[in-house]
């Protein structure tokens, strides 16, 4: 049982890294970006290519995945996305679905539609068990690694948002763009950096997730609903909201699939609908907000 909880936490942490960028861009620009998963997929494929073709060690691939998708994010933000900020939600949905479809088809063309596998370094394989009987806790080493990395990232993001100058500007822009611009904050620049960082994190998540989630060209569509759940349930006003939502989702999904495998992903979807019925603006939306 503890093992399931542990796996759930690892899974949830991974979902958090994947989705946090989406949450921030959605909160900041009120932009519904359904193509977020495409950036994650790109990060995954960058890692696969580097490891398979160039024998780059796994740990070096992670920053590479982050940087390459962040750069890609900047390019897309500057050329395409920024025209979409003030469009209707329908336009945004159509646009980002289009982008997703193109990325799926291009990846299929470039990399074939098969599942990609990577060789993890030896020290990340294997597992450690603690305790006995029903309370045994089996921890895959890779999952420990995931939790540590993602916890560090979450902590770092929180620190940046609450303590740095950039963080306070970002929060001001999220609260009210016009006022922020009036205060001399370069909202455009903040958008761009945030979008890049968000895409980069997604790419990093995609790289980290190859071992856990798998990687094939349908990735952006397969996990789209999970990203959206994290954002919708967690709200867009903080880092902690999406974090808790991601953990909840991870644990519920792993536990659900373990205990009632015949129900599949059914439990997660139902849980989400119930939560959104109860709190339509997510679990963690600030009271008295807009």
């Amino acid at each position: 049982m503890l093992t399931i909880l542990f796996d759930g936490i690892a899974y949830g942490m991974l979902l958090f890294v994947l989705a946090v960028g989406l949450s921030v861009t959605m909160g900041l620009m009120n932009f519904i970006n359904l193509a977020h998963g495409a950036f994650a997929m790109t990060g995954g494929y960058v890692t696969v290519l580097l490891m398979q073709r160039m024998d780059v060690p796994f740990l070096l691939c992670l920053p590479a995945a982050f940087i390459s998708t962040a750069v890609l994010g900047v390019i897309f933000e500057r050329t395409l996305y920024r025209h979409m900020y003030h469009r209707s939600h329908l336009d945004q949905v159509l646009f980002s679905i289009g982008l997703t479809f193109m990325s799926v088809a291009s990846m299929t063309y470039a990399m074939s539609s098969s599942q990609q596998i990577i060789q993890l370094p030896e020290w990340l394989k294997g597992r450690t068990e603690i305790g006995e009987g029903t309370w045994v806790l089996g921890m895959g080493h890779y999952r420990i690694f995931l939790i540590v990395i993602c916890a560090l990232l979450a902590w770092g993001l929180q620190a940046i948002l609450t303590h740095s100058r950039f963080g306070s500007r970002l929060r001001a822009s999220v609260d009210d763009q016009r006022v922020a611009a009036g205060l001399g904050i370069n909202v455009n620049g903040i958008f761009m950096i945030t979008f890049a960082a968000g895409s980069g994190l997604a790419g990093l998540g995609g790289a980290l997730g190859i071992e856990v989630l798998g990687l094939d060209p349908s990735f952006p569509l397969k996990y789209l609903i999970y990203f959206l759940i994290v954002v919708a349930v967690g709200g867009t006003s903080s880092i902690t909201g999406p974090l808790f939502a991601a953990l909840l989702l991870g644990i519920a999904d792993v536990a659900g699939k373990y205990y009632i495998p015949q129900m599949g992903a059914f439990i997660v979807y139902t849980l989400m609908i119930v939560i959104l019925l109860w709190r339509p603006h997510g679990l963690f939306e600030r009271k008295g907000g807009k």
Binding site: L80, D91, F95, S106, T108, V231, Q262, G264, F266, L276
Partner: protein, 319 residues
């Protein structure tokens, strides 16, 4: 001054072009007998798009999971034919009725929250149903779906033939009747209140329109029509599989509607014709990368602007 009555009813009067269009459409299975199968497909997709237009075009509600109702209608009609009786019309009514109920249930979900929550919830409902159709194999045949559903003759007289001519007639007739109903509906006071809700929900409330109830009603109606389209598909293809709930289908139908333009009834129909013909052509050239072109098209459409894309002369207009 023109009289109010004349101006108000100008929209609801039949135009010659419309009459010509429908005459041609209703005769098409006979004129183009060779293409009866694709005509049938187009008609079903057009009806499905029409149902989405009611909520997206007329009421302004974005949905990413309209395939939920389409698929639900398809399975209901197929199961009805297998377990109850093979009469197509009763099966169609059953499929539409069941989808109506599902729509009424789901409307509770879309009344609250933001556009984002609505997208999520509609998407999730379709995914849940897909999951269910996969898992409840004793009822739905699992991933294989329900195959070889035997249908009785339409009205007890017209058997479904292998060339699909009866099927095309049947789908066309049903779609035409439903179109007439929808056409009445959107030009009525009820339809006008929907447009009011789309344009300005706050003001709609301030003139006494019960916004939530209206949305629930139109959402259920739209679900029933989508269900009817699904039922037609299951009946004319003797087949229903979990694929009817797929995300692609919801996204495609959104695209189809947008190609033809939202909020004027013929958008879905034109979109369906263009989309299906394009799909036919492009798939025969590069079958695997059809989605790539769809994606490129969507992006171009949005960047250029949906209005200008449909009416190229607006490029040069002042506004």
């Amino acid at each position: 001054m023109e009289s109010a009555s004349l101006s108000l009813q100008a929209h609801s009067r039949w135009k010659h072009l419309e009459t010509v269009f429908w005459l041609f459409a209703l005769l098409s299975p006979w004129l183009l007998a060779k293409h009866a199968l694709i005509i049938n497909e187009i008609v079903i997709v057009a009806l499905f798009a029409l149902s989405l237009d009611l909520i997206l075009g007329y009421t302004g509600i974005v949905s990413l999971g309209h395939a939920a109702f389409f698929g639900f209608g398809a399975y209901s009609a197929a199961l009805f034919a297998i377990h109850v009786m093979p009469d197509p019309l009763l099966g169609l009514l059953f499929g539409a009725g069941i989808s109506l109920l599902l729509g009424a249930l789901c409307s509770v979900l879309i009344l609250r929250g933001s556009d984002l929550t609505r997208l999520m919830v509609t998407l999730a409902v379709a995914l849940i149903l897909k999951e269910l159709s996969n898992k409840l194999s004793w009822l739905t045949g699992g991933t294989d779906g329900l195959q070889g559903v035997m249908m009785g003759p339409v009205l007890g007289k017209f058997d479904f033939d292998i060339r699909g001519i009866t099927a095309a007639w049947y789908s066309l007739a049903v779609t035409f009747l439903l179109f007439l109903l929808i056409r009445r509906l959107v030009h009525s006071p009820f339809g006008a209140t929907l447009t009011a809700i789309r344009d300005n929900r706050l003001r709609a409330m301030a003139i006494g329109i019960p916004v939530s109830t209206r949305i629930a009603v139109i959402y259920s109606i739209s679900a029933a029509i989508a269900g009817a389209a699904g039922a037609l598909l299951a009946q004319t293809s003797s087949f229903a599989s979990p694929d009817v709930f797929a995300f692609d289908r919801s996204a495609d139908i959104l695209l189809i509607l947008v190609i033809g333009g939202t909020g004027w009834l013929y958008g879905g129909i034109i979109g369906a014709i263009v989309f299906k013909l394009l799909q036919d052509v492009i798939s025969s050239i590069t079958p695997e990368y059809w989605t790539f072109w769809i994606g490129a098209f969507l992006i171009a459409l949005v960047i250029v602007g949906r209005e200008r894309f449909l009416y190229p002369w607006k490029w040069f207009a002042k506004r």
